[in-house]
């Protein structure tokens, strides 16, 4: 594989890039050209086994009638054309309707969660930019939710949201006197807000960490020059800090979006296998409909639709944000 990848026409370009390459003989030059591929080989094989091949298989499975009878030998399952997709997208049918509802819930949830995570993370990073007493402590403290294993944190939140012995109802109902009776948080409509609180608590430190790293790349003399010109701290934040964070934000918002939209762990641990309808995020929805009915074909079709949606959003997002950046730079 490594030898055939090297064509003679390609060699000069590569030689130029590695100083001293011209001095080596043809044979050791070849070996040198094979080396990067050998170095990449383990990573490549693992990515193929765990990500790429399963993904292609998943796409193939979405065109098959893959029920529990064919699990042992998935290749023998009959092809079913676009049936799985039409079932998933038939919004009058039960399957399509619940999928659409789950999708819309996920959109709403993601918008709120990403917005809040970004806001809290950016605010904290900017407010901790200047040195003051307690800064190091707060910086460490704010990373605790990121460092905690998801399940440990979410289980603690689940305890806090218990109706009879949880902290949230103790504060809201017993201490603040809100509502006639203690509310349910993990079933019914309230579960959306419970999930959002946990998701933001868990997610904002990553935004904080990333923005903090981005702030370190802003040259100090920009602030000094602005201060000499009489710009106060608010003006400096608005005109230096926030614009300098543009490229960091471009990546950060995208990553937060993808993670939140695909989030499985938080609802799975918070609610168990069956999430309440108000908090039925799409990953959990697909998982449930696949493993409950063992209909992997339809589950795969739903996953493929999800992937297509994410690709579309990512493409449009990158196009829009990159274009906006170019015009503003000119």
């Amino acid at each position: 594989m490594t030898q055939t990848a090297v064509t003679p026409t390609r060699e000069p370009a590569v030689r130029k890039a590695t100083p001293g390459g011209a001095r080596t003989t043809r044979r050791s030059g070849r070996r040198r050209l094979a080396l990067p591929y050998l170095l990449l080989l383990p990573a490549l094989l693992l990515e193929l086994l765990v990500h790429l091949v399963p993904m292609l298989m998943g796409i193939a499975m979405s065109f098959k009638e893959l029920t529990q009878f064919y699990i042992r030998d998935w290749a023998s399952a009959p092809w079913s054309g676009l049936d799985n997709f039409s079932v998933s997208l038939d919004f009058d049918g039960a399957v399509g309707q619940s999928l659409l509802k789950s999708f819309l819930t996920t959109c709403q949830f993601t918008l709120l969660s990403v917005g809040l995570c970004w806001l809290l993370g950016t605010a904290a990073a900017i407010l901790l930019q200047e040195n003051f007493r307690g800064r190091g402590f707060l910086r460490t403290l704010f990373l605790v939710p990121y460092a905690l294993p998801v399940y440990a944190a979410v289980i603690t939140w689940a305890f806090m949201f218990q109706r009879d012995n949880g902290l949230i109802n103790h504060v809201l109902h017993d201490q603040l006197g809100m509502g006639d009776s203690p509310a349910f948080w993990l079933i019914g409509d309230n579960s959306f807000w419970a999930l959002l609180a946990v998701s933001v608590w868990k997610g904002w430190p990553f935004a904080f960490l990333t923005v903090m790293a981005g702030l370190q790349n802003i040259p100090r003399d920009m602030y000094e020059a602005a201060a000499l010109d009489g710009a106060g701290i608010w003006k400096q934040i608005r005109h230096i800090t926030l614009p300098s964070l543009r490229s960091v934000n471009q990546v950060l918002v995208l990553v937060l979006f993808l993670w939140t939209f695909n989030d499985f762990n938080t609802p799975f641990v918070l609610f168990g296998e069956a999430a309440p309808e108000a908090a039925d995020l799409i990953s959990l929805h697909i998982y449930q409909s696949s493993f409950q009915t063992w209909n992997f074909g339809t589950g795969s079709a739903m996953s493929v639709l999800l992937l297509l949606f994410l690709l579309l959003v990512t493409g449009v997002y990158l196009l829009l944000t990159s274009r906006g950046r170019k015009t503003s730079d000119v």
């Binding site: 170095l39 693992l46 765990v50 993904m55 294993p149 440990a152 944190a153 902290l167 499985f264 697909i286």
Partner: protein
């Protein structure tokens, strides 16, 4: 009077000092955030020290009595030690392997020009955006079928989970280490090569030592990823290979939940990663910065 003393005395009222509006915003916002972050931590710690009656009735801010019993009971109520060992073996092995694979890949990307380099980096990074659920089902089938065909038990075994987890942290690790390696001057490894080192010797003699903070950061990240993963652990483990992620969740969804024990167990399983992360967090920030500069 010296200039320095003068400057020090004048500093609080100098025009450079932030205005009161900023100071108060900072105090209030940071205090609220600290409260938000600490709330579950407080619940976890205080509830883990309460007797069972206290956590079954109404929540109390101040425990009526403190006890260490939950910390003793957790090891008997569920096989927590087994889960712990499983998690430790799986996460440890996945971390070591992932870091090793990432070092080689990042070295190739950082130091060589070759055909398909861009395709490789873009493909690897884009696997990060795939919904886990998309390849969970096929991977499940692949592991089952490999097991049927060859007798190598990947499904339900630690090895299968190690293999899966090590690829989860791989894309980010390669990306971050490439940024780190790029920031190491090429003259260093060129000099080593002039001294007669081969490319692999140059990697281990020069680049790896110089990139130690980045490697530490990547290792912490890989360990945390494996330690906290829930989805694949819940499908791909059985009774003997169950990790903490699955075991703890089962603990918290029994009919009668001993919340004080569950909180104690949550705390115990969090300590290794939280302490490790907080000790090494500055490397992670530095690593992210190196990646962002690129």
């Amino acid at each position: 009077m010296s200039d320095a003393a003068h400057a020090r005395a004048a500093r609080p009222r100098s025009p450079m000092a932030p205005p009161r509006s900023f100071l108060w915003t900072r105090r209030i916002v940071l205090a609220l955030l600290a409260g938000f972050v600490l709330l579950p931590v407080y619940v976890m710690v205080s509830s883990s020290l309460k007797p069972l009656e206290d956590v079954s009735g109404k929540f109390e801010w101040i425990p009526s009595g403190l006890t260490l019993r939950p910390y003793a009971d957790i090891w008997d109520t569920v096989p927590l030690a087994d889960y712990f060992v499983n998690s430790l073996v799986v996460s440890g092995a996945a971390t070591v392997l992932s870091v090793a694979v990432a070092i080689f890949a990042a070295y190739a990307v950082s130091r060589y020009t070759f055909r398909g380099k861009r395709v490789f980096t873009v493909t690897v990074l884009s696997t990060q955006m795939f919904p886990g659920i998309l390849f969970l089902l096929p991977l499940f089938l692949i592991y089952v079928n490999i097991g049927n065909a060859t007798g190598i038990a990947l499904f339900g075994s630690r090895e299968g989970l190690i293999l899966t987890y090590l690829t989860f942290s791989l894309p980010f690790s390669i990306w971050m280490l490439t940024g780190y390696f790029d920031s190491i001057p090429r003259e260093l490894d060129e000099a080593a090569k002039v001294d007669g080192c081969g490319p692999i010797r140059a990697l281990f003699r020069v680049i790896v030592p110089a990139a130690r903070p980045g490697i530490v950061a990547v290792a912490v990240y890989a360990f945390m990823t494996a330690w906290g993963e829930v989805l694949f652990a819940s499908v791909m483990t059985n009774d003997t290979t169950r990790t903490l992620a699955v075991g703890l969740q089962g603990y918290a969804t029994q009919n009668d939940v001993y919340w004080n024990q569950v909180m104690a167990a949550s705390l115990v399983v969090s300590v290794p990663v939280v302490v490790g992360f907080l000790l090494l967090q500055r490397y992670l920030v530095a690593g992210l910065t190196a990646g962002a500069v690129k």
